[in-house]
């Protein structure tokens, strides 16, 4: 089954900031196990904000997963 466009976007965004290969990461897996530490997460959100996509850290800090990021992207897109 193809991924939702937001999940696909979340995956490619995370792939740009972590050293691990997240192409196989389960949408519900904790991304901290894939190398997404707080520095990388905050940096990622800062980059998104520069493009007008505003996601607050607290939306993700509790659920740092691809699914969590996809949901946040869906909410943040105008």
């Amino acid at each position: 089954m193809p991924e939702s466009p937001f999940l696909e976007e979340a995956r490619s965004l995370v792939a740009t900031v972590v050293v691990d290969d997240v192409s196989d990461a389960d949408p519900e897996e904790d991304l901290r196990d894939w190398g997404l530490d707080s520095i990388r997460l905050v940096g990622l959100l800062a980059d998104l904000r520069a493009e007008g996509v505003v996601i607050e850290l607290e939306e993700l800090a509790g659920e740092p997963t691809l699914q969590g990021l996809a949901g946040a992207l869906e909410r943040a897109r105008p």
């Binding site: 050293v19 691990d20 190398g35 607050e56």
Partner: protein
């Protein structure tokens, strides 16, 4: 007999032992590089007493000291692997990695000291005191203080006010129960003395904007002792910003090929 430390044991290959600093943990302090390291190595990341998800290990008779933690690290490593390991420590973890290697000859094939203070100076004394005080009176302020002292100014300046508050909040949430004990250990550390006793290759990694571990004392020490010294961009959190570089460094040091074993003087930054 030493109490058992929790270890994050991941990957396979030549073993590398990671030791975090004050207020860190095996899982969080090396999070950005751990997946890359585990691709080529068996990574044994040790939780110092009072860090990580597990309960505080039982205190040895006489309490935890740097020597007893070093012995506990050696026990944790030896119970899992029986070949020499590359020991890599960050900050306090660097002092403990060096102490472990000194007290347990044959355990380490090499030591990497990252963002480590060579000597206890006035600033490190005041740093541990203020850290301890903030731990007692105000966790929010401690989070702000940690962000301010561990991140490089140039990285922080790219962030918005809200990001800074968020980061400080995360830092405050991550403060482990063992912080006070780990500050005690930091106050006991004497890396310069241990360094003089180490008889394995030592590599020093520093952040160019690290207010806690200055480049200058290391410049003199590494030139004198002929140690490899690398300066990467970043603050006290230098390793978190350079997962690729860290993985490449560990790969070179933990699995030296015949060519790599020949010392290249050009590699050494005086």
């Amino acid at each position: 007999m030493t109490a058992g430390l929790e270890v994050v044991d991941r990957g396979s290959g030549t073993p590398v032992v990671l030791v975090h600093g004050v207020g860190g943990s095996a899982a969080t302090s090396f999070a950005s590089a751990l997946p890359a390291l585990a691709r080529h190595h068996r990574v044994l990341a040790v939780d110092l007493p009072g860090s990580g998800p597990g309960a505080m290990p039982p205190e040895p008779a006489g309490g935890w000291t740097a020597d007893r933690v070093a012995d506990a690290i050696a026990t944790a490593v030896r119970s899992r692997v029986d070949v020499p390991v590359l020991m890599l420590g960050h900050s306090l973890g660097a002092s403990l990695a060096a102490r472990t290697a000194v007290r347990h000859p044959g355990l380490a094939s090499g030591v990497v000291l990252a963002a480590a203070s060579l000597e206890r100076d006035a600033r490190s004394l005041l740093t541990t005191r203020l850290w301890r005080r903030l731990l007692e009176v105000d966790r929010t302020a401690l989070g702000q203080y940690l962000v301010m002292t561990t991140s490089s100014p140039s990285w922080l300046n790219q962030l918005r006010e809200q990001d800074l508050d968020d980061l400080a909040g995360l830092a405050a949430d991550l403060v482990p129960d063992g912080t006070a004990l780990q500050l005690d250990l930091a106050e006991q550390s004497d890396l310069a003395a241990d360094l003089a006793l180490l008889d394995v290759p030592v590599t020093v990694v520093l952040g160019d904007e690290d207010p806690l571990a200055h480049v200058d004392p290391w410049r003199r020490a590494t030139a004198r002792a002929g140690l490899e010294s690398l300066v990467w961009s970043g603050g006290h959190d230098v390793l978190a910003h350079h997962p690729h570089e860290l993985a490449a460094l560990v790969r070179r040091l933990a699995a030296p090929t015949a060519t790599d074993q020949i010392t290249d003087p050009l590699r050494r930054i005086p």
